[in-house]
Symmetry: C2
Subunit: 436 residues, 2 copies
């Protein structure tokens, strides 16, 4: 994308309302614009990142055997009356009436709807197990939305729902999602730690939150250092195999949020392994047995012909929130430092003197090697502004091309994450970026 034609607007001033780094940087980098309290439009740079995050989530859900669907945003109140949650949900639910005065709502989650869909089709034990997920915009009418996309009202969530014949099957589904979550977050360069959690309005008796550590986290967390040191991606995973050992590794070491913190158990962790920090929740998984299947009349015929009420779980990832969380974990004073896997563009080509024949030719050459995964700063602006924008927007690589270097075919390559700079021939610079 040529910046002279792109809609990648950056702001010079830090907006006053932004209290945390990710919110500040997303506004300054022109990733999002608030259209009303807690509701954001995603501008081209932000939208590219959101799509990359979404795609990593999708691919790991598919790998784990979940199947993608898309449920609508608007639901009927009757569906929620059937589960008893319509009155219980409170003012965070955005309620509305259609032109025929029917009570509807903008879905904050989809346990009821997916159970209703599944019961229409599932008739026999042969139709189990299944895990259905979707990635859809949700609405929760927070009384005080804040922290940008970290606590918005309209937000993008991946929610999966598993249906199993019995408890053992449901535990297997739970472990599949547990491991899929570890891998999903690791693929984004995040160290997410599963912690036992309260189940809240979803219900059930087994639940883990996944949190990353960040100074601006909303919860205090306590964990064993081993969990931070473990490399989730070092081995491939067989989702159909036995995942107990992996789950046991994580659940046998201490990790808890404030809510669940147990001073006696914490005292057993060697002092040198105790890590206490702030954490941001990015995922939450629940096993809740037959809570929804029983109340909503989902039943299949078992292998012996008798009716069986399936066991269920649900599994959420805050996809739009993740964009903020990733920035909280990857930034410095100058701006964002995108992990390679979710960078909006891999390379920014900074032409320091558009109009200079050598600089133009070399810039076009490097740009062509990476287009459409590159931006080309061909604007007639001063070099300092280009450096500042590239650092702010956080492209993993900057290929800096000035008239003097260009005359000798040389490019200055900057790695955003480390600040490392090196002067290379165009050919070597391209090879270095491609090798990374």
């Amino acid at each position: 994308m040529r910046l002279s034609r792109a809609f990648l607007p950056t702001l010079k001033e830090t907006p006053a309302e932004a209290q945390i780094a990710s919110h500040r940087l997303m506004l300054r980098a022109g990733m999002v614009r608030q259209t009303s309290a807690g509701i954001y439009a995603w501008l081209p740079l932000g939208w590219r990142v959101l799509q990359k995050v979404e795609q990593i989530v999708r691919e790991e859900q598919d790998a784990a055997g979940a199947q993608e669907i898309l449920m609508p945003t608007i639901q009927t109140a009757d569906l929620w009356r059937a589960s008893g949650r319509y009155d219980a949900y409170g003012p965070e639910m955005l309620r509305l009436k259609d032109r025929h005065d029917r009570e509807m709502l903008f879905g904050p989650t989809n346990e009821e709807m997916v159970t209703d869909i599944f019961r229409t089709y599932a008739k026999s034990y042969r139709d189990l197990p299944r895990n259905l997920y979707h990635i859809q915009w949700k609405f929760r009418d927070e009384v005080r939305p804040r922290f940008g996309v970290m606590r918005g009202r309209e937000f993008l969530m991946k929610d999966a729902y598993s249906f199993d014949l019995d408890y053992a099957g449901a535990q297997k589904s739970y472990r599949q999602m547990f491991v899929a979550y570890l891998r999903t977050f690791a693929l984004m360069g995040l160290k997410a730690i599963p912690m036992q959690a309260d189940t809240g309005p979803i219900g059930g008796n087994l639940s883990h939150e996944f949190l990353i550590l960040a100074e601006t986290g909303e919860s205090q967390v306590y964990l064993h250092k081993d969990l931070l040191d473990f490399d989730v991606l070092s081995k491939p995973v067989d989702y159909e195999g036995d995942l107990s050992a992996t789950v046991d590794f994580w659940t046998s070491r201490y990790a808890a949020t404030d809510e669940k913190h147990d001073a006696a158990a914490w005292a057993q962790v060697p002092v040198g392994s105790q890590v206490s920090a702030r954490g941001i929740e990015i995922g939450h998984i629940f096993y809740f047995g037959t809570k929804y299947s029983a109340t909503m009349g989902l039943s299949v015929s078992g292998p012996d012909g008798k009716p069986v009420v399936p066991e269920m779980g649900s599994y959420g990832i805050g996809v739009s929130r993740l964009v903020g969380a990733i920035i909280e974990a990857n930034h410095d004073e100058a701006g964002i430092k995108w992990p390679d896997s979710i960078a909006p563009f891999k390379v920014a080509v900074l032409n320091l003197k558009p109009g200079d024949a050598a600089a133009d030719a070399l810039s076009e050459r490097v740009y062509a090697a990476f287009d459409p995964d590159a931006v080309y700063d061909d604007r007639p602006d001063r070099a300092g502004a280009k450096f500042a924008d590239a650092d702010l927007l956080g492209y993993p690589w900057q290929a800096i091309i000035g008239p003097r270097g260009a005359a000798n075919g040389m490019v200055e390559l900057k790695r955003r994450a480390t600040g490392e700079r090196v002067e290379l021939s165009a050919e070597d610079a391209i090879a270095r970026i491609k090798g990374a």
Copy 2:
């Protein structure tokens, strides 16, 4: 995807409420399920098709120079008061109040919001031209939703908005979208005809609807046969070049809906070239000048430093409606016949005798050659049910593998579009499908 584990539920009975072929077939094929009047959940098969349609739309928008963003579904009433459309829009607008009693709405379109976003950032003529689009769920509270996804209430629309410095620029943007629409629909195997249209509530004085011909179309259309015979994809397009000749070809030949039909002009078309048929609208483009930029205070400084009010247009494609329209144009008594470019899966491998060693081995081999773009019918059902499902779901290719053929390494290959069947070695069958 192995059908023994997939959530691809088909219905044997034709649902009584479905009046047109696409609605009937989408329900029977388990592509969608109605969750309330005019609101649908997309099940795995339907969701795959919808994503393919969306991706073709996206790629051609990008090729034509438009830049993707994502605006939220919920908008403030104030934004619509600024343009004067809040009171004018009528009961099709889904209005609601949040917990603080602020008036909001579920967006039926985005002229106001995109103008508001753009005016925040665009300051100078150098920020023009730009074309911003998004693909987002919209809501129009139809009084009588019907025909399945063809006339739903919550529907997926691609809407693009162009901003130009002057009339000539706006006409160039209009032509870019005009040509992009022709190509987008052709890439889905559709013959879409642009026709002069009324501008309705969007406003402005230049507008074209794009329609495909289908018996169940909602409008009567009249057109010159040349337009049906023209091959849109025969030449590559240069979106930055002069597109006038292409647009002139289409606009100089007669094509009109009932509303705009002109008997005198129609009489000038040679009788042998007159085509009169029913049509389904799948896209609509508008030039409306400064209607929104002027009322909403969008202004940039021109090359001479004086303020300029940008000229705008908007360009819509009914993405979810297209899925229905494509089925209307591609089906027979037995079911859907997907064009290759948007088929949910390219191949269905029908194992007529799961458990037979030769049939299993050969089925796995063919399946592995196309996974994940194939389904494998490994269910313990009778052959007739598998044939019927594969025809209904409309995969372009069926690889039919029975124990007798498998013993000799032979596959019966069926092309759904033509019904043609041929017996081939597995190797040749795989090559034939790959070559297509």
